[in-house]
């Protein structure tokens, strides 16, 4: 693969990752947020493929396929199903001002660029140059967890966070072995399945999935 195309592909896939995360913070519709998650999963798969092919590892094809299936198809479908069972379509009223949400997201992205400098080293290759995007995804995922009240969006935030971790690990190591990725993906799948059931139970018991109402976790 010519170097320029490689660069372009990395830039495109990481760009899509960042854009989808920002859009998820901006928007309020649950369905659109889940759709963005699917796009994000596809972009992550593309990134895996690009890095793997450039490194000349054929295993990357399988890993990318796995990422695509789990993160772009299965997880969004599971979440859509949970949302439909509960009957929620929109996010709960915000805890903080939407402008503050976006400004916070911007600040966190800047922070991600600031802290990943030392990790990139003096002369980073194209893959390492995209490292701040991985950290941004981690931060933005956390940010979503913090600012949203619905349990479904919390789940979305968790998945964005996980995508961020995956991005960082792919970019730093130049591709993960199949067994590791298999383990991680199935783990995440399991977590989402369990949390999906939990959210439905929450709706049944409390009549709401607003996690700000769960306040008994103290002594």
């Amino acid at each position: 693969m010519p170097n320029e195309i490689y660069q372009q592909l990395i830039a495109t896939s990481t760009g899509v990752l960042l854009l989808t995360a920002i859009l998820q913070i901006w928007g309020r519709s649950l369905a659109r947020s889940i759709a963005l998650l699917a796009v994000q999963g596809a972009a992550l798969a593309g990134l895996v493929l690009t890095v793997g092919v450039h490194a000349g590892e054929l295993e990357a094809l399988t890993v990318a396929g796995l990422v695509l299936i789990v993160k772009s198809v299965v997880l969004p479908l599971v979440m859509l199903r949970s949302a439909a069972r509960i009957g929620e379509t929109r996010e709960h009223p915000a805890q903080i001002n939407p402008a503050v949400e976006l400004i916070g997201a911007a600040a966190l992205t800047l922070a991600a660029y600031a802290i990943s400098g030392p990790l990139m080293g003096p002369n980073p290759g194209p893959a390492l140059q995209a490292l701040p995007v991985g950290f941004s995804l981690i931060f933005l995922g956390f940010w979503l967890l913090l600012i949203r009240r619905s349990a479904i969006t919390g789940l979305i935030g968790f998945l964005v966070l996980d995508n961020g971790i995956a991005t960082v690990s792919f970019l730093v190591s130049g591709g993960l072995p199949l067994t590791v990725e298999l383990g991680v993906s199935l783990d995440v799948l399991l977590v989402v399945l369990i949390l999906g059931v939990l959210v439905i139970r929450l709706q049944k018991v409390h009549g709401s999935i607003d996690i700000t109402e769960l306040k008994e976790l103290h002594d």
Binding site: Q95, A111, A114, I115, S116, G117, P118, L119, F135, F139, F142, W143, L145, L146, I211, T212, L214, K215, E216, L217, H218, D219
Partner: protein, 669 residues
Amino acid sequence: MTNLIDLGLQAQFGCTIVGIAAALLPARVRNAVAGTAISIGGLTAAATGIIALQGSTGTGLILPIALPGGDGLDPLLLAPDQLGGFFMALAGLVLSLTALFGIGYAHGAAASRTGWAAFAVFALGVQLVPAAGDAVSFLLAWEAMAIGSTVLLLADHASREAVRPATLWYAVLTHASFLLILAGFGVLTAASGGTNWDRWVNLSEPVTTVAFVLLVAGFATKAGLMPVHVWLPRAHPEAPSHASAAMSAAMVKMGIYGLLLVTLRLFPNGPQWWAVVFVALGAASALYGILQASVQSDLKRLLAYSTTENIGLITTAIGVGLLLRGSGQNAVGDVALVAALLLALSHAAFKTVLFTGAGSVLHATGERDLDALGGLAARMPWTASAFGVGAMGAAALPVTAGFVAEWVLLQALIHTDARADRLLAVVLPITMGVVALTVGLGLLTFVKAFGIAFLARPRSAGAEGAHEASFTMVAAMLIAAIGTVGLGLIPGPLSRLLGAAVGAQDLAVTGFTGLELGSLGAILLDPLALSLLTAAMLVPVLAINAVAALRHPRRQVDLAWGCGGDRTSPRMEYNATSYSEPLVRVFGGSLQTRRSVEVITPDDAPLLVEGIAFNQETTDVVENRVYLPAIRALERFGDFARRLQNGSIHRYLSFSFAALLVVLVVVSR
């Protein structure tokens, strides 16, 4: 030929292993086998200690424990010097006797597998603390001692509510002591590059001062000196009696050993103010301890406060000795230091008797409250005789060890030339006053302890039905009592050895076995002659008594207008509270006792009196003024911190997010 000291140290490990293994035996034989093993271990320690005290040295037993790092850490060395040998012998004798007592005494949880295993570990720890030749083995033994005693203290936690708070106080303070000592040793290790004692002797200011402050705070906590004594009156009453005897007679002495280690072995040329600190701490503890002891009516609590008093006297003696050595009066200083060791030994002897005696009383009557005892002399003659001897020792009466020790201390105080030095001119007269007042109050206190508990008539059903203790218990008490008297009658040879341990050479044996303080001019103490003289003086008194008894035989006088009432109800007896009432009056301000008189009347007839209840509670001023406010402040801080945890998931998430950000920012710098 193998070195005897090394052999003795190895034998102690062997006995401890046998003791722990014996703790696993069935309950029927556990007490006997485990108690015997620990007792033999104690005797081995005593023998080893005495050999070391006579000046032999071991080749140095190196514990085969590999330390991580290794850099700056010397091997774990067990090599007692003369001073260490003295404390090892003291601890060994006490533990041997208390283990023997425990064979008959331990019951319930104290006789469990855990109970005996903890006692074995505790005993080994106490015996090895003075043998340590470096900081790490010292701390290992120290911690074994701390953990073993904490477990022992917890023995009755299931049956008595008060045990848990007592253990909490003890555990907190004992670990505070460990941490302070660890910090002190850490400072010295960092400054010298090694953990062996020998490496530290050449250190100079300001390292030594920092270490002195940390170490003295740590050792004072273990010894039970005044501001940090609060664990004693809580822990001693709640521990099983053989454990409280071992803790009071042997374990707190390790605090004293620590003080001597710092000031005699490590930094013998410390500044004068170190000695003044010792005198101040010691004098305050002695006075406060005996004042509190004199008004207690719980027998074991009384003994616990008396421990603070005695430790205070020992520390005072050490302080005086250092002060005098520092100002050039070496001979008198030596005598004061020997007095400190004699005080430690006599306290070990009579406190073993008193705590085991209190244990026998508790075992027989189920009561610790003096106001519920009485009349035990007829019911428990052996216990009563032993306790009587112990009480005489604690009151520093002649022919007991306590008398010899305090006599030597007073001689040192009296024979000091304080004209030259203004510091001495201020400190010594005050010290003398404090010692005199302490000894006087001590006499009152122990007259009360013995008189109320053992004489007159029983004040409760428990005391009424008391029975003599079992054979091993009586044996342990009597051996300790004989030791108390023996030290009082033949102090000479031992004092010479003690003189060598603190570097004094001027003591000699006089007469048959008496003591001559050669350095103070011809000051002689010959207890045998003294007791013969006393006996001779008693002859006319007894003769007059006998004659009077023959002339006027005792008649039972009944109340002329008593309407058949009983004149001698136990409720009319003088009891512990009434005995100490004058003291409460005089020292009320510093004792802060709380009294309440409640008149009980029927609900429908407020003018009729059904009964009158009097209640007196003694409180600890230091605890009320220092510890409780500190604990309350901590609790307020804790309540404030609880606000952080309000149950909101978002808040918890933001904590971890903030932590993640901080970590990343720190890492990326």
